[in-house]
Amino acid sequence: MTQTNMKLEQALEVQALLDGQLEAGRKAEVERLVQDDAGAAALVAELQSVSHALRTHESPLAVPDSREFYWSQIQRRIAAEEVVRDRSRSSGSILGWIRWLAPALGVAAVAAILAMRGGSPTTLADSSVMTFRSDADAITIHWLN
């Protein structure tokens, strides 16, 4: 078995072989390298031992708080988020109503103004009214001529 100085690309391919992530077309060649080259074989052994150590020796940490305290914190946060969500829902529904009512209120206001100005019944058809409405901005603008 010989030992050559592997290039980084070769080392990454050896690693990919170990992880089962090497493309099929390169597999045979890299397997041959690991078989024939002592450096490549040692690299496989090193990467394997680190990988095994990590997977089998994950630190068994425990939450530093008591069960009750930890759970109460989670409860508080869920409750707080629910309050925020409920608020945004209710304000969202009010905005929705305003969005739909705004044009109707606008037309009513125009009709009322025209009625007051003319002193006689005036219909919208008699006037030149231009309306611009943006749902995205929740606004309605009326131009009166």
Binding site: E46, L54, H57, W71, S72, I74, Q75, A79
Partner: protein, 241 residues
């Protein structure tokens, strides 16, 4: 975010007066996941011996006691995963709690394709990645870290023919692994955790972290070699003693 979990700490775990939950029992205190009506479960289950699948099903119906049991069963693992990513107890605690809040809100999405524990670890890992991204925006990594990003000295380091973990006691090895993880940069540690602990493939890591597959491979390689180097350091210390 980090302060939310520690504000007004009450080590007895009591819910303060005036809280939305103060007048309710832990059993019916919260709304059903996905904003359904409050559920007042009258049936009592044997929560401690019930399998996760049953607890999830009951939780999906708004049973907070079942959810509390899930928290109790898996809280250490979720916290440990957050801790290994963040290396900061307060942040890990905060993010692990946040993960449980998200889990409660998204329980209806859990269809049982994976185990509940796997689903939960995915949530906490995603929260950790978001947090790391936010922090990276705030502070640039140091020159030393950038040097490590390029591979540092370990990349050129000759491969040794000795097993870096041989002869180490289980507890010693755990301690050393933990220390070594702390010596990696965030970017290397992240890739290592996603691959070794979460079992993600290169392309999945690349997508999650937003880097190329080549970068995943080189970061993983560097991280593993650095771990081997640090573990060998311990072996040598022991031999010299």
């Amino acid at each position: 975010m980090g302060k939310a979990a520690t504000k007004g700490r009450d080590k007895n775990g009591a819910i303060p007066e005036g809280s939305p939950l103060a007048s309710r029992s832990s059993h019916d205190g919260l709304n059903k996941p996905e904003a359904g009506p409050s559920i007042h479960t009258s049936l009592k289950h044997d929560y401690t011996s019930a399998p996760d699948e049953a607890l999830v099903k009951w939780s999906q119906g708004g049973d907070t006691e079942a959810f509390e049991q899930l928290v109790f069963r898996h809280r250490d693992k979720i916290y440990a995963r957050a801790m290994i990513m963040m290396r900061n107890e307060e942040e890990a605690l905060d993010l692990s709690q946040e993960a449980w809040v998200k889990a409660w809100q998204r329980l209806h999405q859990f269809q049982g394709e994976s185990s509940f524990a796997t689903w939960m670890t995915r949530i906490v890992i995603n929260l950790c990645l978001d947090q790391i991204r936010r922090q990276k925006k705030i502070r640039a990594e140091s020159i030393e870290q950038l040097d490590e990003e390029a591979g540092g000295v370990e990349r050129q380091m000759p491969v040794e023919h000795t097993n870096p973990t041989e002869g180490l006691e289980k507890d010693e090895l755990r301690k050393r692994i933990d220390e070594a993880m702390g010596k990696l940069t965030e970017s290397h540690r992240t890739v290592l955790v996603l691959h070794e602990f979460q079992g993600l493939e290169y392309k999945e890591i690349a997508k999650k972290v937003g880097i190329s597959i080549g970068t995943v491979m080189s970061r993983l390689f560097y991280a593993r070699r650095r771990m081997a180097s640090l573990l060998r350091g311990l072996q040598r210390e022991r031999t010299e003693e």
